[in-house]
Amino acid sequence: MSDTVIDATAAAGKPATPRLASRHLPRWSPLAIAAGAIAIAVAIGAGAGLTSHIQWGLIALALFVAGSYAITARVEGRRQAKDRVATSLVWSSFILAVVPLYSLVETTISKGVGVLDGTFLTHSMNNVLTIQPGGGVYHAIIGTLEQVGIATVIAAPLGMLTAIYLVEYGKGRLAKWVTFFVDVMTGIPSIVAGLFILSVWFVALGKAPASGFAGSLALALLMMPVVVRSTEEMLKLVPNELREASLALGVPKWRTTVKVVLPTAVGGITTGIMLAIARIAGESAPIALLVFGSAAINTNPFKDPQSSLPYYIFEQYNNGNQPSYDRAWGAALVLIAFVMILNLVARVISRWKAPKAGR
């Protein structure tokens, strides 16, 4: 149907247009081709009795790409046809990616909201049978906050100092090595970080007692390179004129760094640290090896197993029954909310405090 219309337009335009002016498809032609493709796909799908609507969609997509290529190639030439195919491929890759990502967020929210209430947030799993509904994530939230807090206290100052070293002092071989190994550390899989702390525990203590602190050490290991990287980027953005002005006034270098350079970059550094926190808050692999998880509230991170939100989700999933799945979704929603809030706040800070004079 669309085919004939376009041919007519093309034929009508033909005698009038000189050789140089290329022929064009009308602007609405992609829509027409899409409508045609969908119609044919529905016909094929219904005719062949394909039950899955995803297959209908795929057939329609294939028809659309092939159809627009054929029609454009006839009217506008091969180059334009390739351009159209590229356009439709780019659009379809976007749609293809949006579907699962949207589904992930949608599923988590719709399944999690049903579980989320005051009881869920303020109760632990102590004395709750896993096959029963009820219980909550209070102990896991406490665990996550404590472990992430300790990790931040360790990793943030060390990471910032390392970045200061690299930007303000670092020259020569040591700085090169540090830069290189920061890169290497960025790539450490979280489970390997867990194994490393475990092996240190073995060698140092001869055994591996579970504690939140062990988990935070592994998290700090994962967090540090991220902090170094982001702080480094931010310090590099601080204009050299500021440093020079301060030094010219006779201010010692360390005071220049602390009072001039750091305050200028504080927004970006805070953002970087918060993004790093958001990243380690979702780590469960090292927790599984080092903290073990527990059903009861344990506020002491230095002794006995604790729980944590990501590990709680894993635990509940492994219980393998519906009430546990529900709790897992609820905890997933809490965790996503936590991470997203950190992300959003971080971005707001970076907008608000962005260094005005870049480079």
């Binding site: 180059r79 195919v85 780019v90 890759s93 540090v178 899989p189 390997v192 490393f196 979702g282 990501p310």
Partner: protein
Amino acid sequence: MTTTAPPATRPEPHRAAKTVSRPGDRIFAGLARGSGILLLVVMAAIAVFLTVRAAHAISKDHGNFLTTFEWTPSLNPPVFGIAVLAYGTVVSSIIAMAIAVPIAIGIALFITHYAPRRLGGPIAYVIDLLAAVPSIVYGLWGALFLVPHLRGVNLWLDHYFGWTYIFHKEDPNSAARSLFTVGILLAIMILPIITNVSREVINQVPKMHEEAALALGATRWEVIRLSVLPFARSGIISASMLGLGRALGETMAVATVLSASPTLSGHLLDPVGGTFSQNIVAKFGEADDFGRDALIASGLVLFLITLLVNGAARIIIQRRKEYSGANA
């Protein structure tokens, strides 16, 4: 004419005073250098500790560590090997890359060149946020949502493409807890990160290159093929390598989805196999001290593999110094 000649520069009253060394300066510089050194020490410690424990385990292994399928360090004599794990890790990551890289490049191009201006920014922002979703949530979603929904796809692939061997499924009715599903889930997980880094690189393509191509009458696709992709190639490759590094080390998403068993199968849809990190989490609970050492040995291998991949990515980035996307 405006130059009122400056007074002849007076000779400096005294030679540039040599920098006064204040205690505050020394302490601060020491602290900064110290934390840099601490980082190196920690890295060295990781290598040494892991190697020591791993060597201890491997020396007592009565199977061949590289070619044995089973993971039974508790037997007497202990027998364990990484063949299945290495195969599963590599295969699932390859599937993930094969799916994720083209789509990620597509999305990056969509955001930078195809989407309406007003949409591009927010889309990039949302994808940025999605990169922060914890892996365990992907794992939960994968196991409870993706696995049942991929059943039909599995049947379809087995029915029409079973002849390709890799898509043949031994038991068509078994759940889709296979390396193939893991690959798809990993692809979804690493999509945001590859997209973000590629998008940043593509944004840095000089506008002049594109305008030059346009002025020569190139179509949009030709602009991308001739000026955007060649410029961004190395950045896209290193973005993909970063994604690959994530996929190789991913633990929880694999542990929840894969139905593991010490079988090495060329049929991707069969619910068998394992990966390094999945095996570590699964076997850790029941492992005694020696079993843990064995797991540490497998972790060391994983570490080395990711080290190689990341190193390659860094080298590619280094060649393009102006682009500093290593902070992803």
